[in-house]
């Protein structure tokens, strides 16, 4: 079974050669590859044994899985049933309990150093990891064990990549992103809350097809999906450049589809593919639905102040205020001090002028 290729599995699933080729073309297109790559993908899938994937769930809300199973290009069923052997995913798999744990052990042994570990959610480290128990053990232990023999790790979503809301200040459970716990494995971050379905399947397809990580940026995100900001490809961008903004919800600008910048849209500071790939099979994305981006794929987005403010709060000084409030207040104080100082200077000069005249 270990030597079974992707193609063989697909044929076994009753997929025709024709459908297989279509699938390869679609996948190449969704990865932004040239048409010539369709045959390369086909070749890879015909010759390479399929790589097993273990999908672990830590402290999370399962929105990544919910997103993943809605992938349209490629269809999640194709990915799950044909492409990757998603051998262990306690949410999606049929087995449960001891049976499931046995499957996990088997894969770890059989494919030692050869499987991909996909992590959804993160381990909380406080109290020896007792805030997230899985199969009777702290998740952090399961994660470390499973990661030890993995070829590479995928950090699904903002939880695994950055920490997300469970890591929000003061982070009582010490929820910690995967890359801070596992430091000796290649980790690819696929942030977002959740990540876009096609981005998830695209990343996993790329890794299985080419047997390597896609090109990553400095923060460990695949450049092909996180190389540009929402703002760079936003269809409302012309309104931004024109200076046409939604000033309040349901105003004329909102009805006309003006830029949501003033409503706190984080599109200009968020690296993700929402404005190009969109959601739910390309139907829409938050900005298209009239709400600003909240920057859910960015590190610390949950602790950066309001979703509806352009100039957001900074907490560095133990106070919650934005740059304009801090700076404006200080400038006001400085201005008042200057005026007061000038007045005192003039007064004391006038007084000393009199005495100096007397002395001279």
């Amino acid at each position: 079974m270990a030597s079974e290729t992707f193609y063989e599995v697909m044929r076994r699933q009753g997929i025709t050669r024709r459908s297989f080729m279509k699938f390869c073309s679609l996948t190449a297109a969704s990865l932004g590859l040239a048409p010539a790559f369709a045959s390369k993908i086909a070749n890879a899938m015909e010759t390479k044994p399929r790589t097993p994937v273990i999908w672990l769930h830590g402290l999370e809300c399962t929105c990544c899985s919910e997103s993943f199973i809605r992938s349209a290009h490629p269809l999640a069923k194709d990915v799950v049933l044909s492409m990757l052997s998603l051998d262990y995913d306690d949410t999606l798999m049929a087995a449960a309990g001891h049976q499931a744990e046995a499957a996990l052990e088997e894969i770890k042994k059989k494919y030692k150093g050869n499987y991909i570990l996909a992590v959804e959610g993160n381990p909380p480290l406080n109290e020896d990891g007792m805030y997230c128990i899985q199969g009777g053990r702290p998740f952090v232990e399961v994660l470390k064990e499973t990661a030890a023999d993995a070829k590479a790790i995928i950090s699904w979503g903002a939880c695994a990549s950055w920490g997300c809301v469970q890591a929000a200040k003061p982070n009582p459970t010490r929820a910690t992103p995967v890359h801070k716990v596992i430091t000796d494995k290649p980790i690819i971050k696929v942030p977002g809350c959740p990540p876009i379905a096609e981005v998830m399947t695209g990343v996993i397809t790329y890794m299985l097809t080419f047997d390597r990580l896609p090109e990553l940026d400095r923060q460990g995100r695949p450049k092909m999906f996180y190389g540009q900001r929402i703002h760079d490809k936003c269809y409302r961008r012309p309104h931004f450049d024109a200076g046409q903004f939604v000033e309040s919800w349901d105003d004329d600008g909102a009805r006309k589809g003006f830029c949501l910048y003033k409503m706190g849209c984080k599109g200009p500071t968020t690296y993700n593919a929402c404005s190009t790939m969109r959601w739910n099979g390309g139907v829409s994305f938050p900005i298209q639905s009239g709400h600003g981006c909240i920057g859910c794929s960015e590190e610390g987005f949950w602790d950066k102040g309001g979703f509806y403010n352009r100039v957001t709060n900074i907490n560095q000084f133990g106070i919650e205020a934005n740059a304009d409030k801090v700076g404006g207040t200080l400038a006001g104080v400085a201005g008042a001090a200057v005026v007061a100082h000038a007045a005192v200077s003039a007064l004391s000069r006038a007084r000393s002028g009199k005495t100096e005249q007397g002395e001279k």
């Binding site: 024109a242 200076g243 957001t312 740059a323």
Partner: protein, 234 residues
Amino acid sequence: MSVDIASNADLETAAGNTVYVYEAPVRLWHWINALSIVVLAVTGYLIASPLPSVGGEASDNFLMGYIRFTHFTAAYVFAIGFLVRLYWAVVGNHHARQLFLLPLNDAKWWAGIWHELRWYFFFEKLTQKYVGHNPLAHLCMYLAITVGGLFMIVTGFALYGEGAQEGHWSHALFTSWVIPLFGQSQSVHSWHHLAAWGIVIFIMIHIYAALRWEFMSRQTVISSMISGTRTFRE
């Protein structure tokens, strides 16, 4: 004037004496800088808090685009000016170097700061005389313009490189490491914005202090940044 009883410094700062301090490139840089900072502060504020929406078709307007263009142009002026000024610090006279070096080991310099603070709090009647920048001004200018200016250039071009995207020099030089350093772009925006306020506050105090020195000290200050020469009184 007898040479043997007074040091050269005393001679230079003797009442009625005039010394050439600020060379033409330094003065020119000062005023170009002043103008670019004003433009940067105003347009920067308008980028963070845009003007009320304009009507009509998006294709007929480019208000935000022009504001950002102005900001970026002024930023280039500021940054290139900074580089040219660095060059001049090397080839210019020793006063041109002062802005980029703090004499932290110089007890006299610290004493000068203390004396000046006392002067500002009305404990001292007279200022000491300085051919170059006075110590307190030296410290403040170093923090606001040398360090602050560099911070604005680095964070500013990091943000600029986000829009210019990968392949642009600003992305390779700044964006690629500054954004990860701060964690994310929004934090860079916040700190860039806060530091801008710091420079605005510096300018308020700088102008007031320059005026006060012009009128209340024993040396020229504002006219020195125009003519380049410093004349001493009393």
